[in-house]
Symmetry: C2
Subunit: 214 residues, 2 copies
C-alpha cells in the first residue's frame, strides 16, 4: 500500500501509523497529534504532510488493523487442523497484536468513514465470516461450549485489547487468554446467564458508538 515514496518517507509513514495505533488505544482517538509524532520519533510536520487530518490517520490505522486481522483469521482457519485450534490461534493472535474483532476505540470513527472510504466494509465482513465459521464448526465438533455466540467472542477479544497501559504485558495477557479459552471449552459447561450474544451483538459491538460528546 502507498507506493512511490522514498525509503525514509515510507519508513516514517509506518512508524507513524504504528505509534498512532498504540496511542489511539491507550489514550483514545483524541490524543494530540504532536504526541503521535513524538512517539513515532518524527516531527509534527512530517505527520501532517503524510496525513492531512486526523481522519486520514484514523483511516490508515483502521485499514492496517483490519488487514492484519483478516490475515490472522483466514490463516488460522486454513492452517490449523480443526476449528477449535483455529479459534485459539485467532484469539491468541489478536491479543498479541492488540487487535479487537475490530479495533474498538476506532469503531465509531471508522464506521462513519466506511461508506465513503475503501473496502473496509469488505475486510470487516471477511473477519466476521471467519469468526462465524470457526464458532459454528467448533461447536459442531463439541469442543466449544454451546451456549456461546459470536458476540461473546467479540467481547472477550475487546476486553483483551483494552488493557490499561501499565498492564500491557505480553506474558500476563497470554495467561489471560488461556484462562478464557479454558472457560470456553465444552467440558466446563456450567450454564451462562442469559442468552448467547449473537451475530447482531457482534455487529453492534464492532460498531460501538461513543456517548454523544456534544
Amino acid at each position: 500500500m502507498e507506493k512511490g515514496l522514498r525509503a525514509d518517507a515510507r519508513r516514517n509513514r509506518d512508524l507513524i501509523v504504528a505509534a498512532a495505533q498504540e496511542l489511539f488505544l491507550e489514550q483514545g482517538v483524541d490524543v494530540p497529534l504532536e504526541e503521535v509524532a513524538r512517539r513515532a520519533g518524527v516531527g509534527v510536520g512530517t505527520l501532517y504532510r503524510r496525513f492531512p487530518d486526523r481522519d486520514a490517520l484514523l483511516r490508515a490505522v483502521g485499514e492496517q488493523s483490519l488487514r492484519r486481522l483478516v490475515d490472522l483469521a483466514e490463516t488460522a482457519w486454513q492452517e490449523e487442523p480443526d476449528a477449535w485450534h483455529a479459534l485459539c490461534r485467532f484469539l491468541r493472535g489478536s491479543v498479541a497484536l492488540r487487535l479487537g474483532v475490530l479495533p474498538a476505540k476506532l469503531q465509531p470513527h471508522l464506521h462513519q468513514r466506511m461508506r465513503a472510504g475503501a473496502d473496509l466494509h469488505e475486510l470487516r465482513q471477511r473477519v466476521i465470516v471467519a469468526v462465524l465459521r470457526m464458532i459454528e464448526r467448533a461447536q459442531a465438533d463439541g469442543v466449544l461450549r454451546a451456549d456461546i455466540g459470536p458476540g461473546d467472542i467479540a467481547l472477550l477479544m475487546t476486553l483483551n485489547v483494552y488493557t490499561p497501559p501499565g498492564m500491557h504485558n505480553e506474558q500476563a495477557m497470554g495467561r489471560v487468554v488461556e484462562i478464557m479459552l479454558d472457560g470456553l471449552r465444552a467440558d466446563v459447561e456450567s450454564p451462562l446467564p442469559g442468552a448467547p450474544l449473537g451475530e447482531d451483538d457482534l455487529r453492534r459491538y464492532t460498531a460501538v458508538r461513543l456517548p454523544p460528546t456534544e
Copy 2:
C-alpha cells in the same frame, strides 16, 4: 462521611462523585471537570465549591471505591460457605460495581496521594488480604486451579472494569465473568504459560504508573 451539609448539598456531592467515577473510568482522569458537572446535573460552580481541585475529587472517588471494595470482599468472605463461592461473589460484584482490585485508572494518582491522605493504604491492604485468603483457601480446597496467583485475579478484574463505554452492558459482562470463572476452575487444568502472577504483581498492578507524560 462529610457531614454538616444541607440536604441538597449532600445529594449533589454524591451525584458528583458518582459522575466522576464513571467519567474517570470511561475517559480517563483528565476529563474536563465541566463534563463531570454536566453528567452530575449540577453547575461547575457547585463542583468547584465542594472539590477545590481535581485531586480532591480524585481522592473522594478513590476512597468511595475502596470502601465499597473492602465491603464487598469481606462480606463475601464472611457470608459465603466456602472460599470458591466467596471468590465468585467477589468477582461478580466487582464487575457489577465496575471496580477493579483497585480502580485502575485512579491508581497512579491515588498512589501519590496515599502517603499524605487518609487511611487509603489500610483499606487497600484489607482488600489485598481478603483476596489472598480466598485464593489460598480455594486452592487448598482444590477448586481453584493451582497455577493461578493473586496477580492473575487482579488482572482479570481490571479487564472487566476497562470495558469500553459502548459495551458496558450488565448482561454481557455477567457472561464474561462466568466464562472467566469457569476458566479458573481446577478441573480445567490445561497448563498456563509462564509462572502465576504473584502478590508482587498484584501490588504492581494496583499501583500502575502511567507512561511518563512529560
